[in-house]
């Protein structure tokens, strides 16, 4: 209940901000941060709970973006339907990739997911209708009222998508499914021998995770009024999706949210004030710090402080 009240407040605040705040840049930057909140939350379902490290985020994100773009070009499909279709397509990709790779353990699975990104990018580079290597220019339709700017509308949509992603992750984490995924991470063999259908659960996690990543990509073509393979299947999405849960903490559904807020906000600030190349350095420094000094992330640090101060 508390969760849903908080979610409603966040959404209402987003709408209020979109209607009242004039400066467009805030929404332009905020949108990117929200995309990473969704990506990190989605990544954590398979990578954090089940312990299967996935470098393939750009494949799912990019397929979602291209699904939306192609449906818009072909049928001028409304945005909400684009988002749903993107989720379905990337979910199916998650399922298919899972069937092929989830029997592999650890490092082999991680390598297979990198290959997935290369395959998807090559596919879209060679698809003429989707713009090929040069990309596709897209003309935004007018925004839906009460929004007077398209970016502000996308911002509110991104908040809604992030909330859905967090709600799904939370539900998984707190149900028997989450316990099964944690059992898989701790010991796959013991999980099987205590009745956990490990392959099925991993497929489920991979499908849900992929679907949510797809919805995160769905609004990207409209956000940029443009889509092209190189930036859509960019490894930065893989790094952000993986680094944020590490920074925030993988054990709790709020970990990836906190991590993504910290990391991408910092990246936005750095790329505006210093340079966009410094972005990569920010991720690197933060990652090294957290992996070495706080392997349970910000949430783990909080817990430790709380425990020592209450003694």
């Amino acid at each position: 209940m508390k969760f849903w009240i908080s979610a409603a407040i966040v959404l209402a605040a987003a709408v209020a901000a979109a209607v009242t705040v004039k400066n467009e840049y805030f929404f332009f930057a905020g949108y990117t941060v929200l995309v990473f909140v969704t990506l990190a939350t989605a990544w954590n379902i398979l990578g954090g709970y089940a312990g299967y490290v996935n470098f393939g985020t750009p494949a799912f994100f990019g397929l979602g973006a291209y699904t939306a773009a192609v449906l818009f070009k072909a049928f001028a499909m409304p945005l909400v339907l684009q988002i749903l279709a993107a989720g379905v397509m990337s979910g199916l990709l998650g399922l298919a990739a899972g069937v092929l790779t989830l029997r592999l353990r650890g490092i082999f699975f991680a390598i297979a997911t990198i290959a997935l990104v290369v395959i998807m990018e090559t596919l879209f580079i060679n698809w003429r209708f989707a713009g090929g290597a040069t990309g596709l220019q897209l003309l935004r339709p007018p925004p839906m009222p009460p929004f007077e700017s398209y970016i502000k509308m996308l911002f509110v949509l991104a908040v809604a998508i992030a909330i859905v992603a967090v709600a799904v992750a939370r539900w998984i984490e707190q149900s028997w499914i989450g316990r099964g995924l944690r059992a898989i991470r701790d010991s796959e063999e013991a999980a099987e021998c205590t009745g956990v259908p490990t392959l099925r659960l991993k497929l489920f996690a991979c499908t849900v995770s992929g679907a949510l990543m797809g919805t995160a990509g769905a609004c990207m073509p409209m956000y940029l009024s443009f889509i092209e393979p190189a930036s859509t299947f960019n490894l930065n999405y893989a790094i952000g999706a993986l680094a944020s849960p590490m920074i925030g903490g993988t054990a709790h559904y709020l970990g990836p949210v906190i991590g993504a807020l910290i990391l991408s906000t910092l990246q936005q600030v750095v790329s505006v004030t210093i340079s966009s190349e410094m972005n990569v350095l920010v991720v690197g420094v933060l990652l090294v710090f957290f992996v070495v000094a706080a392997p349970e992330g910000v949430l783990g640090l909080f817990k430790k402080w709380f425990r020592t101060s209450s003694k």
Partner: protein
């Protein structure tokens, strides 16, 4: 005649060119207390891995309750009633002790009817029986080696098996703790559960078992009552090394 709950027929398992199990055949009637012994590396754990589904046997069949389970994934064998402990403990380290038991309770016992089930209460009851109740909310990665072994057995019991396989659950336990665990296994057996005990602690497995088998280099070299097994010259040779 009591029907066999487990029937192993000509099971062979190879690792590369190495034959770890060589046409092993065994029948275990329902409700029996069965002891499996053999020197280090003789294939005891490998046989258990094949029965529980952690490994697939190349040849032969494994019948549980008359059904060939040798191609089923491990989780389905667990749901049919085969549970095991691991010789090298494999706790769910990120969970508390009680949550370790909730996993099989959710995935086996109350599968499909979780609503209203008191899995925590049931788990606590099992922990109490194992003398682990005080550690219920301790993270499993903070347990001692002895506690981990008890957790292995408790988690296997939580699946409410009909066949319980204990792979050296008593190694490292103090004599009074060995007696405790033996008493628990005797109780389970009285409740109708068939038990296979793998053990190097000879007096324990002899006291417990109604019938025993000795493996050596992947073959059964002797089968019979505990006294007969220890008296058997082949068993003595296998253990002492000829």
């Amino acid at each position: 005649m009591v029907p066999d709950i487990l029937k192993i027929e000509g099971v062979t398992k190879q690792f590369g060119g190495f034959t770890a199990l060589n046409e092993v055949s065994l029948s275990i009637p329902q409700g029996e207390r069965f002891g499996l012994i053999g020197p280090n590396g003789s294939g005891k754990t490998t046989l258990i891995n094949c029965v529980s589904g952690a490994l697939r046997n190349e040849a032969g069949r494994i019948l549980f309750d008359g059904e060939d389970v040798s191609r089923l994934p491990a989780y389905q064998r667990t749901r049919r009633g085969i549970a095991r402990s691991f010789q090298i403990p494999r706790p769910f380290a990120s969970m508390s002790v009680v949550e370790n038991l909730v996993v099989p309770l959710e995935y086996v016992v109350h599968r499909g009817s979780l609503r209203g089930a008191d899995t925590r209460g049931e788990a606590l009851a099992i922990l109490r029986g194992m003398g682990l109740a005080a550690k219920a909310d301790t993270p499993a990665n903070q347990l001692s080696q002895v506690e981990l072994r008890k957790l292995e057995l408790a988690r296997a019991m939580a699946a409410r098996p009909r066949l319980l396989i204990s792979d050296e659950a008593m190694a490292g336990l103090a004599p009074n703790e060995v007696d405790e665990v033996l008493a628990i296994l005797f109780d389970l057996n009285r409740a109708g559960i068939t038990i296979i005990m793998i053990e190097h602690i000879m007096h324990a497995v002899m006291r417990f078992s109604q019938r025993m088998v000795c493996l050596d280099a992947g073959r059964i070299i002797c089968e019979g009552a505990p006294d007969a097994i220890v008296a058997n010259p082949e068993v003595q040779r296998a253990y002492l090394g000829a």
